[in-house]
Symmetry: C2
Subunit: 343 residues, 2 copies
Amino acid sequence: MTNQTSGTPPRAATLTDVARLAGVSIATASKAINGRDQVKAETRLRVLEAAERLSFAPNALARGLLKGRTGTVGLLTSDLEGRFSIPVLMGAEDAFGAGRVSVFLCDARGDAIREQHHVRALLSRRVDGLIVVGSRTDPRPPLGAEVPVPVVYAYAPSEDPEDMSITADGVGAGRLAVEHLLSCGRRKIAHVSGDPAYKAAQDRATGAAAALEAAGLSLVGNQTYFGSWSEGWGRGAARMIVEQHPDVDGFFCGSDQIARGVLDALRELGRDVPGDASVIGFDNWEVLTTNARPQLTSVDMNLERVGRIAAQRLFAAIDGTRRPGIEELPCRVVTRESTAPIS
Amino acid sequence: MTNQTSGTPPRAATLTDVARLAGVSIATASKAINGRDQVKAETRLRVLEAAERLSFAPNALARGLLKGRTGTVGLLTSDLEGRFSIPVLMGAEDAFGAGRVSVFLCDARGDAIREQHHVRALLSRRVDGLIVVGSRTDPRPPLGAEVPVPVVYAYAPSEDPEDMSITADGVGAGRLAVEHLLSCGRRKIAHVSGDPAYKAAQDRATGAAAALEAAGLSLVGNQTYFGSWSEGWGRGAARMIVEQHPDVDGFFCGSDQIARGVLDALRELGRDVPGDASVIGFDNWEVLTTNARPQLTSVDMNLERVGRIAAQRLFAAIDGTRRPGIEELPCRVVTRESTAPIS
DNA sequence: CTGAAAGCGCTTACAG
DNA sequence: CTGAAAGCGCTTACAG
């Protein structure tokens, strides 16, 4: 018995070891282990016992070499730091993990060179497919045509409409948020958002405006207050809006950070939330929403679902069924204390 | 030329294809591509061109089968959700990525069964080693002795002292935080922390007490105010402490969330930070620290470094050099506006 | 300098 | 029901 802690670990057992211990050929051992039916029950038992005794784990490399499929997939993120990649990645990992597929994780850190490097490494390892996870909903350049395996783009869609992309429906989300405020009886709704260079910011504003228009209303100040994705901007914007439009009774915020700022400013201005005004955030980032005063209603982009669906689409594509185009998944409102009907 | 978008993607090129195109044997092609020196310069060139033309990527499975090393490593996390795993994971990914090692990511979601399942899958794929990333600094049960490859535990150390573990020095961190407040001239220091069931909470309290004792002082209220890792607890604790110990002039908070609560409560009580009291948080979680009013000084656990070192130790172990035991890496104070010398 | 051959660990027809 | 043999794509002695 080799001691694990004393230097060389024991070599992993091989089919040959199992076959020898069971007193059969490796062909028979293989069949027994893989549940083929041309094996006598008693023989199978002997093989299985031998495998157990040796903690035999079939070498997936050898299997992959033979089958042409490795049961592995590459997950290429552009920034692990970003809070949007993580849930997408979790969803994908979850969907794959359940189906015995292992996931290679690569972080390109927003660098195209690094990304190419990782793609090459992944192809060398013969992944069956690739998921490319972005950190914004702005379309990104495709990986390139020389990739011989299916690719699905998640969160950030590919610029090429022939590629498969799964993302969150930003316009729909803006609509949902405003409809929620409307359903609370709010009529003077302001939209405080982040950096206007983000497609997400534009999409949500578009959706918000559309929902208001459908109700015969328009945004307070007749504009979206774009700024940055920060609490500071939320505070400043809220102060300005309350001063210029004292009758404002609803805030749709482009992020939970902005919403936190808005909430703080309103409290300091003596405005009660949700009494005087309802506030809805975006992202449903728990650390921000549940610690807010009052707890923050927020739009959830269902990012884990984006990841799961991306994984499913990739599976299908690996099995030969491509479904090109951008698929925009709906978001949902998670109601907490910061929004309530006018009482 | 096969069209990528039209069904079957082109089969990846093989060494045989390259050799044929270059008009040499596969042995020679292999040597040329791998930079062996027993190849005529002109021949090498022909081979390289052929490889280029075919976008040849050597099959890492075949190579791994032959070499007994795959250049892959498993990263086993217990929860991707937790904000502590991510930086560790990033650090490890970074350290490996630089050295041409690919990383399998598995999330056990805190479930031991799922973890075993993942370990088996990883061993089947013949990873060269494993990093187990935990979400708390409390020691965890080891993976089990039947793992035939080196294992490094990161952030959460293994209960077995013979295993290799890399974690953050919680006691030292507590000391650092208090020493920072002392160096700001604070003498009435309160420690507001989270759930006392966390080893991290206990360690930091131990370090804090030690630093105060070394200065001939003790904690305000002669205790650590344990509670939960939330803003709400921070607010409540701060109010209570200010009421009972109005001369308090420093707060060492067990997390940035707690610190945010403390800051909010102090502002609402009319206490100026850092004028009347300095406040230091823990985790250096940017979304919380930089949006705070004033911006929050915080202890950074250098988690990326924990990940990187774990990767390095794993490398060394794969190469035969084990370094058993728990390695506690130092934390550091990141100074912002919430701490300043008494003026 | 070049190439035929063995072999990494497995699966799968194909005989027996 | 069982096993000998070929082969997945590559590397590495070993001859030539």
